[in-house]
């Protein structure tokens, strides 16, 4: 007897070779589980945002109902008091106005500096300077806000008061620079300066990212046509990056609006709308919450929740808008 060589496939008696794998496009169980876990993790951010607005609105709702629209338009913040029998009245109009004032002041001082720094880093800086300077701007972004607050209070304020005096001396005839007394400390002007320093890193880094996307062939075309560096920037870089830079500025504004600790240390809260930016009287919704929180009764707490809800909505709206502008610019290749 001699065996014919029999291939494995033809031999029905061989049992140790597995059957060919079934080919399917159907995801396996492990993949379905993986996708489910990852997706639910991805939705936690959405869920959290929803929960934040729900809980703040839920706790502040009674205030919105009793105060109505006057919660965002009226200026007075009077907590209920049993001894004096005063009726509670809550309005964050002055604080909202103050928030916008210091936010825009921060942008006014910070935006040109950040834009200049971004242009410098992208088109002017020598190679050896680029890395250390990017590092310094990143360090700036990592500094905790309480550090900015203390620096603003102890180091910047004495100087800023002098600057405010000079502005008042030479430009005092303009209403916003006028000064009824001699109260230069803790003014919106100083808060704006501190905020400017705090928002420079984010505007700089977003502007740099946007500038980096400018097509190189256009830049080289501009130079080939004899453009100077500045006319190249004006003709190519600025038109290309305008949207992204504006979006970056708005993100900075969003940060400035939500900033709490630093503003609280360098701003004197006054429940009134004052046009003078050099005067020691300003407002900030975030600082109001810190200021009133520790001694707030149950009803005032509700009003603070309502204020928090308004602040949340404003920052969310600003951020949405900013991100929409930035991503639209980024997509325009």
């Amino acid at each position: 007897m001699h065996d014919h060589p029999v291939s494995i496939i033809e031999n029905p008696n061989r049992r140790d070779v597995p059957n060919p794998r079934e080919i399917t496009t159907e995801p396996r169980f492990s993949d379905r589980a993986f996708r489910a876990v990852v997706s639910s993790g991805g939705f936690i951010a959405l869920l959290l945002l929803g929960l934040i607005s729900f809980f703040l609105l839920f706790n502040g709702f009674s205030i919105f109902r009793t105060e109505g629209l006057s919660f965002v338009t009226s200026f007075d913040w009077i907590a209920e008091s049993i001894e004096s029998g005063t009726e509670a009245s809550y309005g964050i109009g002055a604080m909202l106005y103050g928030t916008l004032v210091i936010g825009f002041l921060g942008l006014f001082f910070g935006f040109p500096l950040a834009l200049g720094a971004a242009l410098f880093l992208s088109y002017y800086a020598p190679e050896w300077l680029k890395k250390p300077m990017v590092l310094i701007v990143d360090v700036m972004a990592a500094i905790p806000s309480i550090v900015f607050g203390l620096w603003g209070y102890y180091v910047l304020m004495p100087h800023a008061e002098e600057w405010a005096r000079l502005i008042n001396k030479y430009l005092g005839f303009i209403p916003i620079f006028s000064m009824p007394g001699d109260f230069y400390t803790r003014s919106p002007f100083i808060a704006g300066l501190v905020l400017a320093v705090m928002i420079i890193p984010i505007i700089t880094s977003i502007s740099r990212e946007v500038f980096a996307q400018t097509p190189l062939d256009r830049i080289q075309a501009a130079y080939a046509l004899g453009a100077t560096r500045w006319s190249m920037i004006r003709a190519v870089v600025i038109p290309y990056g305008r949207g992204g830079v504006i979006g970056g500025a708005m993100l900075g504004l969003g940060r400035a609006i939500g900033e709490t600790v630093a503003v609280y240390t360098v701003l004197n809260l006054v429940y009134d709308i004052r046009p003078e930016i050099l005067l020691s009287a300003g407002g900030s919704v975030a600082s109001l919450i810190v200021n009133k929180f520790s001694e707030a009764g149950p009803q005032e707490l509700k009003a603070l929740m309502a204020a928090g809800f308004v602040l949340f909505m404003v920052t969310l709206a600003v951020n949405f808008f900013a991100n929409a502008i930035i991503s639209r610019t980024a997509r325009k290749e």
Binding site: P27, S30, D31, A33, V37, G41, G42, F43, I44, A45, L46, L51, I52, F55, L56, F58, N59, P112, L113, G116, A117, L119, L121, Y124, M133, I136, D138, V139, M140, A142, I143, P144, S145, I146, V147, F148, L150, W151, L156, E162, L166, V197, I200, T204, T228, R229, W230, S231, I257, G258, E259, T260, V261, A286, I289, F293, L304, M305, N319, N323
Partner: protein
């Protein structure tokens, strides 16, 4: 390279600007450093414009002016950082002593001793542990699963990174203390920090995962691995150092404390308390606290940098 002869006008211009500034400051009401700096900027811009205007044309003059302005703007951006770091070292370092970390200062004052700064780390560590999985899962959803809602999720995560710390604190207060009637604990503070950390971790991790070449994923799938195996055994190991960086950056973010997240004498609270006293000694302690805080922040920052630069 320009020859020395070509550089001569620039050099003379700079010299002229300095001398001109000194003369103007000496003979005008402009005084002090501020006056000197302002005059110097104005004069040097005018000089730059004049030199290039005369040598070439108006376009060259505009170029010189803008170059000068951008150099000055960039220099001014560096000024506050330099000032902050200088002042922290000048005012904070003298108060440092070994005893600061071990001795109890409650004898000398009613406020918390600095040695409880350790609590900050507990807070940050707890927040990190909670936010790492959520942040990385979000990033995986955006890069690996690419679900239908990826665009929306990305948009909301971006918006979430702008949530003010005070709102996060209020939210935790509303949930923890009002709804569940809890008292303040480290865990509650950590949850508030988590909200601030998630978007940072998620966005940085997404950037890192995007850098992993698609080839690696396709190779994994072509070898018959499931997507789960590909991600767990190929993509994540490849992105490991970047993901650690993402976590470290998130931890750094959590240093952005607000009064709601640290009633427990964490380091920033120590600074805040001592600042609030308003006395000389309180201010000194606040500066020392800030010095220590900045050292901690810088350690985090350096770790993130070193890991981020080590491409792997």
């Amino acid at each position: 390279m320009e020859t020395p002869k070509q550089l001569l006008p620039d050099f003379l211009g700079a010299l002229g600007a300095v001398i001109g500034t000194l003369i103007v400051v000496a003979f005008s009401p402009m005084a002090g450093i501020l006056g000197f700096v302002l005059t110097f900027i104005i004069i040097s811009v005018i000089t730059a414009a004049a030199i290039s205007g005369i040598r070439q044309d108006r376009k060259a003059a505009a170029n010189s002016v803008s170059t000068m302005v951008i150099y000055f703007l960039a220099a001014f951006v560096l000024l506050p950082v330099v000032s902050i770091i200088f002042e922290i070292i000048r005012k904070g370092a003298p108060g440092l002593s070994i005893g600061l970390f071990f001795d109890d200062m409650s004898v000398t004052s009613t406020d918390a001793p600095l040695n409880e700064g350790g609590l900050l780390h507990a807070l940050v560590a707890l927040a990190t542990i909670v936010s790492i999985p959520i942040g990385i899962l979000t990033a995986l959803y955006l890069t690996e699963v690419k679900g239908k809602a990826a665009g929306t999720v990305r948009f909301f995560v971006q918006a979430m990174s702008g949530v003010p710390s005070i709102v996060a604190g209020l939210f935790i207060y509303a949930v923890w203390m009002i709804t569940f009637g809890g008292t303040y604990t480290t865990a509650a503070g950590a949850l508030a920090l988590t909200i601030l950390m998630i978007p940072t971790v998620a966005r940085t991790a997404e950037e890192v995962l995007k850098l992993i070449p698609t080839d690696l994923r396709e190779a994994g799938l072509a070898l018959g691995a499931t997507q789960w195996k590909t991600v767990a055994l190929v993509v994540i190991p490849a992105a490991r150092s970047g993901l650690i960086t993402a976590v470290t950056i998130g931890g750094n973010d959590a240093m952005n404390w607000n009064p709601f997240s640290g009633n427990n004498s964490a380091l920033p609270f120590y600074v805040w308390k001592n600042f609030g006293i308003g006395t000389e000694i309180g201010a000194d302690r606040a500066w020392t606290g800030i010095f220590v805080l900045m050292v901690v922040v810088m350690i985090f920052f350096t770790i993130a940098r070193v890991l981020g630069n080590r491409k792997g």
